[in-house]
Amino acid sequence: MTRRMLASKIAPMLLESSNREALVKQLAAYLVEEGRVAELELLMNDVALELERLGYSDVQLVSAHAVSSSVKQELVQIIKEQTGAKEVSLNETIDQSLIGGIIATTPSTEIDLSVRSKLKTLGAS
């Protein structure tokens, strides 16, 4: 079974299953048994993509300062419009090296509104 096929099987099961822990254990056992542990990270990316395709987007949000709820709502709205996701979950991280702004990374795209990136772009031009 290819990785993408596996991801397309796991993603709906994750959404439907009430016992996600058991499902994750089964998946881990399968990967160990098949000797495909090295593919775990790529498989997770594929699962995230599949989930996004199914309407559930997992977003990594990095910012220099804590982001207000109004900003989050606005960002979620934009991501829904861009990816077609029905639900968006934000995983926040603070990184002051961004100086200002945010970086929102979905499984399929990245929205980089950080000051650091803008300065890098300016310096590279």
């Binding site: 910012s63 220099a64 300062h65 804590a66 982001v67 207000s68 109004s70 900003v71 606005e74 960002l75 934009i78 100086i99 200002g100 702004g101 945010i102 929205i111 509104l113 000051v115 650091r116 300065l119 890098k120 300016l122 310096g123 590279a124 031009s125």
Partner: protein, 180 residues
């Protein structure tokens, strides 16, 4: 001897004709015979040899003259031939010199053209190199300037951007994303 005495006597006795003039025809006759005799003797023993020697000398002289003429003729021919050779050589040398001069001129002209072309090419290359250097320097300067500006901005913003200001920046950026 008797004959001679008779003749002498006969001659001395003549007193008329030629004898009246004091000439004795007998003596004259005798002298003429003697002369003829002497002549034949002289001719036989001396003159023929002298004539032969003279003839041989004449032949030698003629031959020498002929040889001299021939030598002179040959000399003239040689001189003429030499003149022709010299003339031909001079013409050839003139042609060679003219050709060499022409070739030299061509070479000089070609060298001058080559030098001019080379000089032009060097100028062009130098200009291109200078242009490229200037462009590179400008680009480098611009990049350095941008880096400095970015670094300065980064430093200033790092100090100036607080949570409130950051939220304003984020909202503005999200608005721009929406409008895009």
């Amino acid at each position: 001897m008797n004959v001679l005495n008779n003749l002498t006597t006969f001659a001395s006795e003549e007193t008329t004709g030629i004898g009246a003039l004091g000439l004795d025809w007998k003596v004259m006759l005798l002298q003429a015979g003697t002369f003829v005799l002497l002549f034949f003797i002289f001719k036989k023993f001396v003159l023929d040899k002298v004539v032969k020697v003279l003839g041989d000398r004449q032949e030698k002289i003629d031959e020498s003259l002929k040889t001299a003429d021939e030598i002179e003729k040959r000399s003239k021919e040689s001189n003429k031939e030499a003149e022709e050779i010299v003339s031909t050589a001079r013409k050839e040398s003139d042609v060679i010199i003219e050709k060499a001069r022409s070739e030299t001129n061509d070479m000089l002209k070609q060298a001058e053209e080559d030098a001019t072309k080379k000089q032009d090419k060097m100028y062009e290359e130098a200009e291109a190199r200078i242009g490229a250097d200037v462009k590179s320097a400008k680009t480098e300067l611009r990049n350095e300037l941008l880096t400095l500006v970015a670094a300065a901005t980064e430093t200033v913003l790092d100090e100036k951007i607080d949570s409130k200001k950051d939220e304003e920046l984020i909202k503005k950026a999200l608005k721009d994303v929406k409008n895009d």
